[in-house]
Amino acid sequence: MRILVIEDETHLREQITQQLQKQNLTVDAAKDGEEGLYFGSEYAYDVAIIDLGLPKLSGIQVIQELRLTGKEFPILILTARGRWQDKVEGLEAGADDYLVKPFHFEELLARINALARRASGWANSTMRCGPITLNPSSQEVTLNESAIELTAYEYRLLHYMMLHAGEVISKTELTDHLYEQDHDRDSNVIEVFIKRLRTKLDPDKTLNAIETLRGRGYRLTLERVN
């Protein structure tokens, strides 16, 4: 899952970025409104975190501009002034949720996960597809109720595929959502990850959890249990 963070306060931006990366999320951080808008329009994100008081272009303007150009990813606004008028203005502009500074990181993470789930049609905090469950807050993955160990990129891959279970996901889409913008991308790596994930999720090769659609991409075939 790839997250855009637009926050002008350097410390806070770095803290959020690091914490989110620790949670195995792909993070791009922008330091002002203009840069943030550029990232938001250029790359594919699953959730954006936007501070309202930004230099160059205000948070509200960034949100309006993103929505105007058809970007539909969920947006969480951060505001230092907890005034309702500001919150309402941000939500009216197109944001989906707000968080007042200072906040607990757990709270931020919970909101991000909730927004991402909501956007992809999941109701519960733990996603379950067939025998597989994934809990984004604890980053625990289970197969038939027993925990399985995944590497960081395997987890990222599974998280994204579970969010979009049932949908066909192209390799480009996967690289877009798994890597930061300045990362060296090689789509062959995806194939390797998919292969490893298949072995871990389906050691007996009975489940056929991930199907390959030639020339189109991959699909998690397991049924969502909401």
């Binding site: 005034r83 309702w84 008028q85 309402v88 939500l91 009216e92 989906d96 707000y98 909730a114 909501r118």
Partner: protein
Amino acid sequence: MLINKLSLSSRLLIAVSIVLTAFLGLSAFSLNNAYQASTDSAQQKRLKNYVYTLLASADFGSHGLEKMPEDLSEPNFSIPNSGLYAQITTGDEIVWQSKSSLGLFIALPDHPGASKEYLSTIMLNNKVKLLNLAYGIVWENEQGKNFEYTINVSEDLNVTNQQKAGFHRTLWYWLGGTGLILLIAQALILRWSLRPLHDVASDLHAIESGDRTRLLKNYPTELSQLTQNINTLLDHEESRRKRYKNSLADLAHSLKTPLAVFRGELENSSNITDIKQTGHEQLDRISALVDYQLQRAATEGHSSLQAPVSLGDIITKILLSLDKVYQSKNIRRQCEIQRDAFIHADVGDMYELIGNLLENAYKYGDKRVNVLVVTRLDSIDIHIEDDGNGIPKYARDDIIKRGKRMDTQVEGQGLGLAIASDIVAAYQGEIKLEQSHLGGARFIVSLPRQ
């Protein structure tokens, strides 16, 4: 521009002076003209009368004019250089002349025609200007012979000119005097009428320098609205200043407890997990205190100067926002707002009040939230209820107790409700907490409309 900087009294004085000068000048001009015209016509009438008198006293016989009386009824005809002269001529020959006109020749060369008159001014050698009326007569004797005569009556113009000049002078003296008096009166009236403005200015100055806190005098009706508003504003500022001060003091005070707790923990505990835990708890507390006091200080409070705001608009916007944020809860909400739900209040305060109460309902409600706004004659009632677990009876009073500081409030109760009841108190309203028939809490806020 310079003209924009002129004081009110200068403006009035300049305007009034211009109008007064123009008015007096025009009246002088027209009065003078009227006087001149009337003296001129009176003089002509007089000359004509003299002609008729001469005509009546003349004896005409078969040889034409035969005799004129020695003394005429007008004595000036007999006094030399009296300024009134008469001559009767036929052709170039003077047939008769008054004693006053001896040595003068005032007759016209031409006969003006029978019963015709001709008015002219004559300049004599000694620079004396005369107004001359020549009247032509034709006398026909029994033989049918015609005798043509011209009766000339002249009057010295200097006399009338002096009269006119005298009038002119008097007129200007009077009008000038009147104008001056009017201007002085005007200046005095202005001073007197504008005095309250000066008073307000000096009172404001006194307030500025701290000698006074309000405008106290009785001002004229035109100003009382303004001064009342200034007083309202001053009171509003004063109460806001007090609130700032209190909030600051409260904040400083209330921060001391969590700081003390944390310091104590740091000094007494060697367990890093405990210290971290306490640190987190106290930081949260500090953060909540800052939020709360910031909000308290930002509350505008009631003031009659505020424009009316639509509660319907605010509630709708907040509901739409909350629907978005609490999308996953799928809250079914019912909202009934009377059309005239307007209130003189600060928009930010109303957002804060309603936002906090509604968020509380969305947060603790299960599936349903109801909003009802009822307007009464002098108040607006806002009912907000949910179908959550409600608030136990014993805790209700504490939650909505007026002016109760957050740091002394029941543990576990949100910041939002404390802020809401503070705002209600700032507007001299009432907040009640009941059991809703939906099962949860029902907040009833009643705010005075004025």
